[in-house]
Symmetry: D2
Subunit: 333 residues, 4 copies
């Protein structure tokens, strides 16, 4: 399934080292002002190669709106967004054609499909997230006039929580030919109460699915999250007075439906699996091999997950907003 | 959305204090032996009132197979399962008609729908999980011959990790008119490699959505989970040799697709929001009030989430198994 | 797939000679007044046994609302409707256990599933339409305050178009141990312009799928339908003046979207396949046999399709109304 | 909804006079040999400008496979197909910016969205079918090794059924500044028995929805179709002997499931609504106007619908084949 969302449906396509990556958005409301300039800044922010601590792949990643916009406004028709791949050095990956990189999708993809595009991870590459970011940028453009904003940041790297210490952890890993994990927090502000559906369509369930669907994410928590397991009910419950909730341990969601408070989510990001350090593995024939993964990789992927996580949050929220709009637009008589 | 799954689609219905709860399963393969006796034990296990530490609601919860089974085998037609409600003391909830219980879905449900069935939480009640367990039992019946088994357990309550200490924490909370949270672990063994789809249909994304969709769950992690944020890549990656993976930090999933190793999931369960302790709240007119939630409630919901989490895991896995069966059944020529 | 609709999702279940038939409606707007008395008249109208020209199966077909309604109004939760089967003479069908009735789903169901509930057609029985009618009655209850009404009628039977002649055709067929086909017309009045989605979600496409999904229907046409193939563009196009459309050759739909004029649909209904006349067939072992289908059958199914077609039309329209409500509820800023 | 299919999901995008039209196919089985050369012939066949009786829009319509194919085989990842628009004379449509063309989607699109891309019909243009044909070509490539073939033809134009008479009807209409309708027949051969699902997922329901979703189609019939309304059961039923069905009045589908016989479908195509003849209409302000539609239009659209209808049939069949593959791949133990 390469489609996300029920109402604001985003179908992504494209491989790391293919011709292009892109997304088709079906269900965007008509009349929203939209131009490439609304999307490009998000792609620029996601783009690697901006610091020595990031993958050195250098591409302009220019987005093109192929459809769905007429005279500067969305028409209600599908919005196709396309980014051509350019800095494609597939030969970097030739040695990996028959090898399973530990911690990567190589083994499982082969088990599933019986064949795979090994170049740069193919479809399972982080480059696919470019399409999600492009779609998320459109969602954010729709949400902005509603006063909804989403901001993410790295709050921990390899146990360090201060900016300088976090950077030091990344440098140390890079130097050691290794990598480090971290924690990303995303907060959505300005969401109305009432978003999300009971039972299987809970807003937190949708967020958890969206976030765990980002490569390298191994955990998701809302509000107090795992900390809630160590609290008493009297500590966890958010009291209410005439002005609203007095605290936000719930992280903005109760019974799967938004309370109107900030929606607070944290993601556990595993260390980048591509490391220079020698690891044991096998090739596609089952023969034991050793591997050192070269090429261009981030020693810590958490910072680059921030814009992706923000955009996935935007996609979840606009989907819930549209679902809720159905009730507002339906007048019971 | 009250439907779960793409291939093994379960639609649940029913309120805590309505006439019945139930589920319709659409997409169960034909020819599977199935009787009420395959489902009842799971409902019995989920049922409250089995210990002084649990809600005292006493119901036989007899399941009836209304359709989809003929001469002891599934036919491929929808399987409707029905459980009538019996021990319904709606009057327990009369005082709650106009009050928002802190930590509950009362406030958000009212914000969403403009009206609600206040009796026992209505549709947002834990009693709805009965339908999920019934569906999960059918899934487990289908999966058993494949050698797939799923087992869950409480591994932590209010910080305690030993059985006696955990029970002590619950007793203490009960005595104090309070409640405690905990952590549940679920492990699926025997799953083949190749389950799950890349990008938005990742197996871990589906699991995260399914688990976060259980009331009171505030966090989900796979394998090392949040611990992965504190590891190096060389510690996190699972090396492979000719016999397979040498460790399982990934928790059985790489790139969103199963590796064939155990799938390991942990859930953070918040303390039951219904507590006798006085809390501040408002009523539906916005007037400030105090509330002490009486009725029959578990001081710790974690143990009762175990069968629900197992069953949700079963539903995710059978759905992925059926999706994968499509590839096996399609022969490229 | 036993689910119909995207927004007003109806999942039906139950076999002709099983315990019950029913439907779960997910997505009904909250706050709609609803009681069993709103649904029962539609079931009574669909019920056989009301005239000597219809199947003699006699059942009260009492509907029970199991969930989703509280204090006389829908809550937004799934509405489960249940009808117990009563007049079940499965022994009538014992001789058919191993025989494929010509014109029936016996052969194809066996080919698909490898086994089947042969009693009264099992899931492929016309009795399944009872669940659709129950769901349609709820849809009609929601649509009525909007001024939308739907009426169907038989306009032709075995070539005859006058009531008396039509009845004579049915009597003649009954006497001959044979059956006759007919044409049903359904008209929806009061629908606003703008319903339906371009491309694959066209309103006429949804209607065509819904109508062709009724057993025994072999053709569907909108407005001029097949007659349009014999017209000039200047005859087919509906001119517009300041008061609106001057004609309705389009049958109320242009480009897949409603115009606001009456939506006019006609269905071709094949003769009931169950006939007493001797037919050639084979049994499940492939041995050639002769068959005369006894039991209780309508010599012409067209009249009984009328309420089913009306209800399917209601389900299509409420689904499109809810989809459109999304746009109304979403305010572009 | 711009997505077609459950298993072989095709999402189309693009407007008549925008930058491009295209489709993303999600769910194509891996390992299928595929190149642009497999798709291009179908686009060439669909392309206008091949005869004086067709629209004179001249474009090479070169398809580009952007993703999902590696080393000549599909990988299981989404296949994005793109065709850039070239011969775009939007100025032809400037006079239509504020006018509703009778018989077109202009009025309804405006009613639905409040704004529209008026150039060449925008998204509701026949040019969108290019994307369907591209997707259908991929489906046909997958189906061919299974021995499944699909062929369509025009069988009637404005009442004429002989090739020469049909052509004469088109020429007469062209000369008169008018247009004519017709009937298209599509036959799928080689389909196995067992395709399609009971109740709402019937194969004929899917076909009817797919065909009625083609612009200008006003009717769909299967097998005897509307003729069945004039038959006796003893005439309509297809007897069976040891070698199979002795006739095919059913058109290859019983109870919504394929019988293994040819699947026979006919479509009623209305006359092209764009005609030079003066028609009455209104503009977007409601003022009465007269209109003569110039530009490049086919006087009869039926011939150009043939490849589109074949491709939609292919999409329905591959979707059902993949659904059925799920059962074959699932081994009940």
């Amino acid at each position: 399934m390469n489609t996300f969302g029920r109402n604001f449906r985003c179908t992504t396509f494209g491989e790391s080292h293919g011709l292009a990556v892109g997304v088709v958005i079906d269900g965007c409301p008509p009349g929203v002002p939209l131009a490439e300039a609304d999307i490009q800044p998000y792609l620029d922010r996601r783009r690697p190669g901006k610091s020595p601590l990031e993958s050195a792949r250098m591409e302009p990643d220019r987005v093109e709106i192929l459809s769905g916009v007429f005279e500067g406004r969305t028409t209600g028709a599908p919005i196709a967004l396309l980014v051509r791949n350019q800095d494609v050095r597939s030969e970097d990956y030739d040695t990996l054609r028959d090898l399973f990189r530990p911690g990567h999708a190589d083994y499982t993809w082969q088990a599933k499909y019986g064949l795979r595009d090994h170049r740069g991870g193919g479809r399972s590459s982080g480059r696919e997230t470019l399409a999600r970011v492009a779609a998320g940028a459109v969602a954010l453009r729709c949400l902005a006039p509603y006063g909804i904003s989403i901001r993410g940041r790295v709050i921990e790297i390899h146990g360090a929580t201060e900016p300088e210490a976090m950077e030091a952890e990344i440098r140390a890993a890079l130097k050691a030919g290794d990598s480090v994990g971290g924690i990303v927090e995303v907060i959505a502000s300005g969401c109305p109460a009432g978003l999300g559906d009971p039972v299987f369509g809970k807003l937190d369930a949708a967020i958890a699915g969206a976030m765990m669907g980002i490569g390298a994410v191994k955990g998701v928590e809302i509000g107090e999250g795992f900390g809630a397991a160590r609290l008493l009910g009297s500590e966890m419950n958010d009291p209410i007075d005439a002005d609203g909730f007095l605290s936000n341990h719930a992280g903005g969601i109760l019974g799967g439906i938004s309370t109107g408070e900030d929606i607070v989510v944290r993601l556990a990001v595993k260390p980048t699996p591509s490391i220079r350090k020698i690891q044991r593995t096998v090739d596609t024939t089952g023969r034991e091999r050793e591997i050192s993964v070269g090429g261009r990789h981030d020693p810590c992927i958490a910072p680059r997950i921030v814009p992706v996580a923000e955009c996935m949050m935007a996609l979840v929220i606009i989907d819930a907003m549209l679902e809720q709009a159905k009730y507002r637009g339906w007048e019971v008589r």
